[in-house]
Amino acid sequence: MPQKSLDKLTEPMFYVLMAFVHSSMCGTEVADFVFQRSSGEVKIGPATLYTILSKFEAVSYIKEIDVDGRKRTYEITDRGRVAYAEEIIRIKRMIRDAEKGEII
């Protein structure tokens, strides 16, 4: 049985889910995708990436679909898509709220 969903996604977690929404991939492909998609703003270290992948697997946001030697490929699950969509709504709401006030 999967663990309880994560309360909140950190910035690297959000980008990792974004990578899996894009396509199925392995760990290093995720790191490269995030680096490029964020124009080099977000770098995900290998230990952080491994922790995120383990956490996402535990809460069933992603699942392993292929193991080729030591290379593991994952794909996003429906639960992961919902978490990603909810996070986008949360971030949009924060931006909307911020825009109601002063913009520095």
């Binding site: 950190t10 790191a31 770098k43 270290g45 290998p46 230990a47 952080t48 995120i52 992948l53 030591r70």
Partner: protein
């Protein structure tokens, strides 16, 4: 083929300050010493000589068992990012990178903070367990008996044990505080535990391993010597050379023991109690009227440095008996004896604890002839009191 020469270097302390150890390893690599897969043992790290290089070492928490290798998934991702696994230390895996462009393994302070929260909670759990086992359990099991334990263990051994335990507690608390601080810093998005460590010519922290090891060795040596002395000090009554400073079976029952008398005498001394004598005796006594009495006597005689210490030991012994008696303890009326302290109770056997000046005696006995008790507790107490110097 000749085996490669292994160099050993003492690791800096404290061991939980992983930032310090990482900086130290990087410093050694610049001198051409690289950590081997044997990692660390007994405060030493093992190294091989290579071309000096600027490298980075990182300790990655994995939470696995002590001697397990990191999971394949982690090794694969780390390798592909330019990090190679070197060795394990406790629940950490040590990775090294020669590539200065390799991304730092941990880039999410919030996630890393969770690791340090876990380390902090584990350490607090360990502190609670150690305190429960070393302080609370003995307290609930035997009562609060500090003076009695000091005298029985021997003052020097007890002091050394206390110093060792204190060092152990302080180290564990410092470790928990370190993790808590790293956790707080990471939560704020700051660098959690890695600081700038200035390279020193003489790092005294390394030599703390020797201080610890010496303390432990000295403690076990003292313990061994006192055990040896303790076991050698127990002799049979016939072989005992000293005086027995209290009443034994002949003054108490006056008969003659049959040949199967068992009687051991143990004597020692301590700074707080210059003379400690224990006897343990039992057997059958043939009385002048021909009656056969089954007699047993156990005595702790402690001549303390002063009356105050004797009184403290007496009260601690009674408290100890109360707890150990598991429901058998029953207070009995005290006989009219002019002792500084007297307490009479039944704790399976009739027992007395008395203090006269600086002498404390705890004694219990049995004396049966058929179904009747041969020696009353009043007579026993009086005879024991009169026999004390």
């Amino acid at each position: 083929m000749s085996e490669e020469k292994i160099y050993h270097r003492l690791t800096p302390r404290p061991v939980y300050d992983i930032g310090r150890v990482e900086a130290w390893l990087e410093g050694l690599a610049e001198e051409g010493l690289f950590l081997t897969s044997d990692g660390f043992f007994c405060g030493f790290g093992s190294f091989v000589k290579r071309e000096p290089a600027k490298v980075r070492y990182r300790f990655i928490y994995s939470g696995k068992a002590w001697d397990e290798r990191p999971e394949d998934g982690l090794t694969e991702i780390m390798n592909e990012s330019g990090w190679e696994f070197v060795a394990s230390r406790g629940k950490f895996d040590i990775f090294m990178s020669r590539d200065e462009n390799a991304v730092e393994p941990n880039t999410d302070p919030e996630l890393e903070a969770i690791t340090f929260k876990k380390l902090k909670n584990d350490t607090y759990g360990r502190i609670i367990y150690v305190i429960a086992m070393s302080i609370l359990y003995p307290f609930f099991r035997h009562g609060f008996t500090p003076v009695m334990s000091i005298v029985m263990l021997g003052t020097p051994t007890w002091i050394l044990l206390a110093v060792l335990m204190l060092t152990f507690y302080v180290n564990m608390i410092a470790e928990a505080v370190f993790y808590a601080k790293a956790y707080r810093n990471l939560k704020k998005g700051k660098e959690g535990y890695r600081r700038y460590y200035k390279k020193k010519k003489f790092d005294y922290t390394k030599y703390m391993h020797f201080v610890d090891a010496t303390l432990v060795i000295v403690f076990f040596l003292i313990l061994l010597i006192s055990w040896k002395r303790d076991s050698e000090s127990e002799v049979s009554y016939e072989d005992y050379k000293g005086d027995i400073p209290f009443a034994t079976f002949d003054e108490l029952v006056g008969g003659k023991f049959t040949d199967d008398l068992f009687m051991k005498v143990k004597s020692k001394s301590d700074i707080l109690a210059p003379q400690i004598v224990e006897i343990n005796s039992n057997g059958y006594v043939i009385m002048p009227d021909g009656q056969i009495v089954n007699f047993g006597l156990y005595v702790n005689y402690i001549e303390a440095k002063n009356n105050k210490i004797a009184m403290m030991i007496a009260k601690e012994y009674e408290n100890y008996d109360k707890r150990r008696g598991l429901g058998h303890y029953e207070k009995l009326p005290s006989p009219d004896i002019c002792a500084d302290y007297i307490s009479v109770y039944s704790n399976v056997f009739p027992t007395i604890i008395m203090v006269k000046d600086n002498i404390m005696v705890r004694a219990y006995y049995y004396a049966h002839s058929g179904d009747s008790d041969y020696l009353s507790i009043e007579d026993f107490s009086r005879a024991m009191y009169d026999s004390l110097g």
